[in-house]
């Protein structure tokens, strides 16, 4: 193992890890936003909007994220959408993650006992109030852990933007593998940084999950 080489290139990996973290944060925010919109659509009163929500989830979960990125980044200009690679990465991954989060959030909401909603309605709360004041606070506790799984997947999925040349961790590793022919060393550098990010996020999710439980 070539330790000298690793010591020489690691600052570039650190910098790239910063970009991976930034990508993950922006993607997570956009994903959560899309997820909430998706759930609202899937639980809508109107059949057409419900259909749109279901189609969003089905199509974005049913095709590779890489292809979705390519459509947005390379195909976008044809329909008048000009994005640089970073923007395309955030939007593409965020909308994709949103489809998965939609299902996570919906799963938590529909697992709340029907009686809760009925009781709230009987007490005179409107449909919206029942959702907002009774169901969501209970469902929110259930979704922390599965959303944490989504987050974990999302961090690893940010590697895909290497394919559209965003200089994040995987792209950096790929570039140095190509120029140094030391794949194992470069994998180790990038891998350790990914593991650190994922470990810290995982601990955060566990902490939050414990914090929101009632018992």
């Amino acid at each position: 193992m070539d330790i000298d080489l690793m010591l020489k290139v690691y600052p570039f990996f650190l910098e790239a890890a910063g970009l991976t973290i930034l990508l993950s944060i922006l993607t997570a925010i956009l994903g959560l936003f899309c997820g909430i919109l998706g759930v609202a659509a899937r639980l809508s009163r109107f059949a057409f909007i419900r259909f749109l929500g279901a189609a969003y989830v089905s199509v974005f979960r049913g095709t590779p994220a890489l292809i979705q990125l390519f459509i947005l980044y390379f195909g976008g200009p044809q329909i008048g959408i000009q994005l640089d690679a970073f923007e395309a990465g955030v939007i593409g991954l965020g909308v994709n993650a949103g489809a998965y989060m939609t299902e996570t959030i919906r799963g938590a909401i529909i697992s709340i006992d029907k009686g809760q909603r009925e009781a709230a309605r009987t007490l005179g709360l409107s449909n919206w109030q029942a959702m907002y004041k009774i169901i969501l606070p209970q469902a929110a506790r259930l979704m922390v852990r599965p959303l944490g799984v989504n987050l974990n997947m999302l961090i690893k999925a940010t590697a895909l933007v290497a394919a559209i040349s965003v200089i994040e961790l995987t792209y950096t590793a790929q570039r140095y593998i190509g120029s140094t022919y030391k794949p194992f060393e470069m994998f180790l550098l990038a891998g350790v940084l990914y593991m650190i990010i994922i470990y810290v996020v995982g601990r955060g999710v566990t902490w939050l999950d414990r914090k929101v439980q009632i018992t």
Partner: protein, 218 residues
């Protein structure tokens, strides 16, 4: 530049060939990941400490890093140690091993949840520990995890697009090749997405059939 879907039929043969490769890669990698998952689960649970602990560490690394990074490691790493595999083989192995690790986690939980009495009964009637595992415990465990493994296989189909990056001519790279000639990225990536979506729907259909059969036979 507007959209022109009428040029698709002229290049459909290349895309269809890519589609066949994607299906082939998915099937072979799925088989590797299924049996690899069982082997990994047995190692992680029953191998001696000196093998088990390092193995678990490697599995943990494979679950904590992106598949794309692992593909680069396998493809270029094997070349470094003198094994020059074709991209196709490296891609299938990478995909198969990656999902074998995920399947192994499912199978481990399932093996542990098989009633202890099953193992004891098998030992009592004279089976060795290995035989009891192979013939009594694992078949029951595997049956319990078929639905979640099905989800992994569908994820595998979608992640098979990543092997295009190391140069395997599957659906995604075929689309890229056609785009290189026609400069029509939108049309052909949409077409590729449509093919992935159809294969995905077929897999979900098969998964539902299998799940129904399993729940009937219980």
């Amino acid at each position: 530049m507007g959209l022109d879907f009428s040029i698709i039929p002229k290049h459909l043969d290349i895309i269809l060939l890519g589609c066949a490769w994607t299906i082939g890669i998915t099937v072979v990698a799925a088989i590797i990941s299924f049996f690899g998952g069982i082997v990994f689960a047995v190692i992680a649970l029953y191998a001696p400490w000196i093998i088990r602990q390092p193995f678990r560490l490697v599995a943990w690394v494979f679950m904590g890093t992106p598949l794309l990074l692992q593909l680069f490691l396998i493809y270029f790493g094997l070349v470094q140690i003198g094994i020059d595999l074709p991209a196709f083989v490296a891609g299938v192995i990478g995909l198969g091993l990656h999902f074998a690790v995920y399947n192994s986690e499912l199978i481990q939980t399932a093996i542990l949840s098989v009633d202890k009495g099953q193992m004891e009964a098998a030992r009592t009637v004279g089976l060795s520990r290995g035989q009891a595992l192979r013939k009594v415990v694992i078949p029951q465990a595997v049956r319990a995890v078929i639905p979640p493994i099905g989800n992994n296989m569908i994820a595998l189909l979608k992640d098979s697009a990543l092997v295009s990056v190391i140069g395997v001519s599957e659906l995604t790279l075929s689309a890229q090749r056609v785009i290189g000639k026609t400069y029509r990225p939108f049309e052909f990536y949409i077409l590729a997405a449509a093919f992935y979506y159809v294969i995905n729907l077929c897999m979900e259909w098969v998964q539902r059939k299998i799940e129904r059969r399993i729940s009937h036979s219980r």
